[in-house]
Every structure is written in structure tokens, then in C-alpha cells.
Amino acid sequence: MKAELSPRRQVFLYGLLCVLLIPFVFPTWWMVTSSVKPISDIFAFPPQLVPARYDWTTYSKVFELQPFVKQYWNSAYIAALVTIGTMVVSSMAGYAFARIRFPFANTIFMVVLLGLLIPSEVTIVPLFQMFLKAGMVNTHWPLILVPIFGAPSVFATFVMRQFFIALPVELEEAARVDGLGRFKIFRKIALPLARPALASVAIFTFLHSWNLYLEPIVFLSSADKFTLPQALTQYTDAYGGPMWNIQLAAATLTALPVLIVFIIAQKQFVEGLAHTGLKG
């Protein structure tokens, strides 16, 4: 499979890859370019691959029509808290399941794994009722607490456990002989070695929180509480039809920062996620 390809085959392969690439790359290009076209041009025929005229007012309208800065902040701080929280909870639980012998460990692990089997959509009705009783509807608490401690963090715990199981135990045993406590061994020895696994946990947790859609529209009702995915769909005209160029401008502002970070750190992203899956 890894044999050197003939030049003709290489050209064919490049061509094939470029064609296949269109639906992956073109939408992002179309989103960015259409967001700066005047409204009269966005459905122009023939389609303008490069804007003929520019209209930057769409971007100021994004901020005028909704508290977009606030919504951006909501999404960002929720995703940051959820990411850090999940890293703490899942690395501790994953370490315990991999390394520490305690009663009922296997039974508890099976119970926790149940979280993988239960999509959060199944429990959305009772969760809504519970948070309603707790007076936390239309606050960000459900979007922070459930992902960190509930079903979404189980996958992270599983990934961390698999990583710690594969890690050689000798270093920790030496520290134990030296009389270090469990928590110190975890923090000073195991956790620093677990950086690659933690990085992939951080990446998929962040993306999961950043993309969350059902939970925000169930739990949040006022515009200044909205998160980005929810806010994007709110740029509509008097008839409920989408204001395309403004939606696309807001979508560009939402997507580009993450995309840029990804392009800079793509190696860690891709290999981190591949690593996660393989160990599953």
C-alpha cells in the first residue's frame, strides 16, 4: 500500500482528492465570501465565487440586532468551564478506575459506562423539570453542570482510563515505595504523563460544548443568555425568514476563530483524536 506511485497515478490521485475536497472546503469559502456581499448579490446568477461588490455593514448589523458580544462571551466561558471541569473530573475518575483498587470498582465502572449508552436526549425532559424546580431554567447552570458531571463526561473518563491502563506502572510504584500519597502520585507523576490524552479530552469536550444546540434552546429563553448556535438562527426578518447575509456574517464570526486555531494546531487535533478512538 505504501509503494511509490507512478507519476500518472499521482496526478490522478491529486485530481480525485481535489474533486472530493469541494464539499468539505467550498461551504466555508462560500460562507465567508457571501457574508460580505450586498444582499442583492448573494443569490446572483451566475454565482459569484469572489464578491463583485463588498458590503461590510452586515458585520455591524450582527452586533446591532442582538447582544452578539454577550452571546459570544456566553458560549466562550461556558465552553471553557466545561472543558476544564471535564478534564478534572474525568482524569480523576479515569485514574481511579485504572489504578486504584477499591470495593465495587468494576460495578461502579459499569454503572458509569451506562452514561455512554444513554444519549442526553433521553433524559432532557426530567432534567428540564429538575432544573426548573431548582430555579435554574434560563441560567447557564444546566449547560455547565450536566456536561461536566453527567453523561457527556463519561466518554472522557473512559478515554482517560484507557490511557492510564496503558501507562507503565513502575514509576508510580516507585513513588509509592517512597511514601507518596495517592493524590500526590496522581498529580505529580500520572497527570503530567497523561498530557496527550488530556489534550484530546479538551478538544472534543470544547467542540461538544461549542456545538450544543438542543440543550440551550430547551433551557434558555432570553437573548442575552443565548449561546452562539442558538443566536445564529435568530437573525430573521419580520416573516421569520432568515436574513442570510447577516446569519452568514455571524456564522463566520463563530466558525473562523476555531478554524484558525485548528489550522495552527492541526497535528495535535488530528492525532489526539485518532489516539482517543484507537484506545476505545
Binding site: 483498587r101 477499591f102 433524559t123 458531571f149 487535533f269 485518532a274
Partner: protein
Amino acid sequence: MAVVQQTARPEARSSSSFWTIARRDSLAGFLFIAPQLIGITLFVLIPLCLVFWYSLHEWNVLANTFTYTGVANYEMLLEDTSLPSVLGATAIFSAGLVIFNLSLALLLAVLLNQKLAGITIFRTMFFSPVVVSLVAWTIVWGFLLQKNGGINGVLLVFGIEGPNWLREPVTAMISVIVVQVFKNVGLNMILFLAALQGVPNELYEAARIDGAPRFKQFRRITLPLISPTILLTSIITIVGSLQVFAQIAVLTQGGPGLTTTVLVYYLYQQAFQFHFFGYGSTLSIVLFAIVAVLTFAQWQMRKRIVFYES
């Protein structure tokens, strides 16, 4: 090192004999898993019991009544004339998504596994939609799929009049599947690529010496060796396909008619738009049962299909 031993926990070693190493370990273990265990109890186990309890009740939000009705909600499932088409749409969506996703992921992984200059740039670009915000991605596709949108514009350049993709039953279903596949196929592609790179090269060399054609090499060597990854990705993809919501809500709102109303979207409508929390809970139980059965079936299949497991 002896100094560390002295200073680290002098009192723990000399203190009462109750705190043996095993007991201290048990305590540490429980403390380590406590946040996760409490979270799972509070946000998964209790809600799971509640959702079953709710499903046995008629819940009128406006009148604020909550009456036990036994299996009435489950009888309603059988009488619900929308349910067959909802389950049908769910099945078509999931089947279409899994087949298209896995075959495209495998094709891309095989292509990206070739020795070619600049192949990592292609890998990055195929993966990029995974990190684009889901709703942003969906909005752009919704824009492209409009009657006078970009896709029909390109088709018209070639003299083809395209359909109104999101407003006709068949094309609407194809559209939501395709949009979802292009968004996430990069993940499976990477998993397959890692699996392909794990196949020992000697096997191919041996096959080449024996004169096995490339296709046969793929079928007889590659596929069996990556079958654990195929199983894993198919489980993740199927369970993920049953959770699809944002794409439906943004692109088609379940339409036209009920053709793209999948189970989660129907559940959302019943519970949070019409406030039938009892019936919504019953639908949640149906979703749970489907996921459980599928996961169990795939787990069983592992024994028959998966050829090799590390």
C-alpha cells in the same frame, strides 16, 4: 529518597493501624470517582428513573395536573398515526448516514494513506468541517440548498434546473444526511487512517509475492485487520445519528410533512413545543430502547464479524 519518605507522610505511617494501605486506597478511590459518580447519579440515573415514571402519567402543564395513567401513553404510541413515519424517517436517516459516512470515510482514508507529497494538507482540509461550528455549517448548507442558492446556480450554469432541495421529500432527506456526513466524516476518516497505518507492511509484501491483486489484498488483509475499528466507528456513528437535532431544526424543521421528522425532533416537539411531557417521556423511553438494542446487537456481532482484536 529516604528523606522524601521521612517528610512525605510521617504521621500516616505511624498512626493507628486502622488506616492500612488497602483502606487508604479504598478511600482515595472513592474520593477520586466521587464527582463522576454523584454526577451520573444526579444527571443520568435519577433522570432515567424519572423519565420512566413520567411516561406512566398524563401531565397537563396548563392545568398543572399530573395523574397516573398506567400504560396509557404506551397505548398512545400504537395509536399515534405520526409515529410510523417518524420511526421510518429515523431509520432511513440513520441507515443512510451510517452507510454513506463509513464508506466515504474508508475511501478517504485509503486515498490519504498513499505516499504522496502534501498529503497532510489534504488530511487537514478533509477534517476541517469537524471543527466548524455545527449550526454555522448547517446555515451555510441551508443557504447553498435554497431554490435559487449556490448549488442550483452552479447546476444552472450547466443547463440543469435543480430541485428545491429542502422542500421536496426525497431531496430533503438526502440533504440532511449529506450535510451531516460532510460535517463529521473527518472523524471516522482519521480513525480509519490510524487503523490502516497499523496494518503491518509485510502482509502486503507477502501478498504481492503471491500475486494477489490489489482489490483482493484490500478484501483479504485490510478489511479483516481494521474490522475492530469498523465496528467501533459504526457504533459511534449509529448512536450519533439517532441524536441528530440541530440540522433538522435549522434545515427542514422536520418537513416537508413529516419526511425528516426524526425521533429526537419529534420528542422535542411533543415535550417542549406542545408541552406533552408525559408523552414526550414515553418517546424518550422508545429512543432509549432503540439505542440499547442497537448497541447490544453490535456488541454481539463483534464475536462473529470482527476477525482480529488487539
